[in-house]
Symmetry: C2
Subunit: 189 residues, 2 copies
DNA sequence: TCTACCATGTAATCTGTTACATGATTGC
DNA sequence: GCAATCATGTAACAGATTACATGGTAGA
């Protein structure tokens, strides 16, 4: 369970509660790691049972109370042996937008441009967020800073590709104006 | 099941057997989609039961025989309604290398550089493959060509980041020569 | 008034990974 | 001789998503 080790890693920096862990991952590592709250709460509970973390309930005024977790000695050892051992696993990646993109040739170009336009807006928003991160992480741990830089570069590259794609498809649409239906299908390898 | 729709999409181009589908995805879409054969064979079977595809057994000399799948009318309709409908799902992304990278500060810099060096070699290999794809897809369907371009750009960006990271960490190592242990931990948000 | 955000949790379901199972051929 | 590639499949397990469940506050 890589979620487990990732949480243990984050708890090295500071104590956190489940909701915060999720927000933190989205904010800082969204370009390399996605997560649901349905994974975090059961994971934290299990880690508590295993003695890897300890909990303190913190009540708040006007807000639901938090369960703040701290890493234990045992948790640190567990984390360290994970960090030092282990052959790398494969990357897991599923991007529904790109999966659809491949097959845009079987639908209308107008719809394709519409969907690409939405992605552009979305990634413009992400880019701002990641640029903020970069500033915040500038004087911190070198690895976290490098990860933030990757986030910005990745986002910039993806945005520039999206705009290029938009442009290329528009061009192609003008070229084939008057014609209709699908393009000729290429011969797949 | 996005695996299902992706297979239906591929079968629009040409008939394929399970093993080929896997190879094809790895070769052409590895930068946006990873897959195991343990997903493909059961999916194909299920799709056959649902009447989305038809099968033909093709015997070969000196090799195991293949089960070649073709998309049916029903399969095309199913695919088309998927393509046109549907709000986008979230991206699923898990990169074990980057997850480890974030926490390299808790291990040794030498080990970090070693692991980064391995990734550089790996992505140099991938880059070659993706550049080959780009040439092969140059005159094909615009969307597939654009996806191939994304693959190359993504790979180039990642490689340049890896080299930059390697350099930055080396620099940092020299700066702190003589000192030992970990860096100061930054205050997380 | 309605949406978004804060904050936790569980259960059912859906997906993905790994190991087991088999076995021939090609290239180093 | 050994590893990789071709080719299919299943079963057990691990991991991820969604919906259900609850409920207050802040801002548009």
């Amino acid at each position: 369970m890589s979620v487990k080790y990732a949480i243990l890693g984050l708890l090295h920096y500071k104590d956190m509660h489940g909701y915060k862990i999720k927000k933190h991952i989205e904010q800082n590592f969204g370009h390399m790691w996605t997560i649901n709250h349905g994974q975090i709460y059961p994971a934290l509970k299990k880690m508590e049972d295993e003695g890897l973390v300890t909990v303190t309930r913190v009540d708040q005024e006007g807000r639901p109370s938090r369960k703040v977790y701290s890493i234990s000695e045992k948790g640190m050892h567990t984390f360290r042996s994970w960090l030092e051992s282990d052959p790398e696993k494969n990357m897991l990646l599923r991007d529904p937008f790109l999966t659809r993109f491949v097959f845009f040739g079987f639908g209308s170009k107008e719809r394709a441009l519409e969907i690409i336009g939405e992605q552009i807006k979305l990634y413009e928003k992400y880019l701002k967020k990641r640029q903020d991160n970069l500033v915040r992480w500038q004087r911190q741990d070198i690895y976290v800073r490098l990860i933030a830089e990757l986030g910005v570069r990745l986002n910039e590259m993806f945005l520039s590709w999206l705009r290029y794609a938009y442009h290329e498809i528009s061009k192609d649409m003008e070229k084939t104006r008057g014609e209709q239906g699908q393009q000729a299908l290429g011969g797949l390898t």
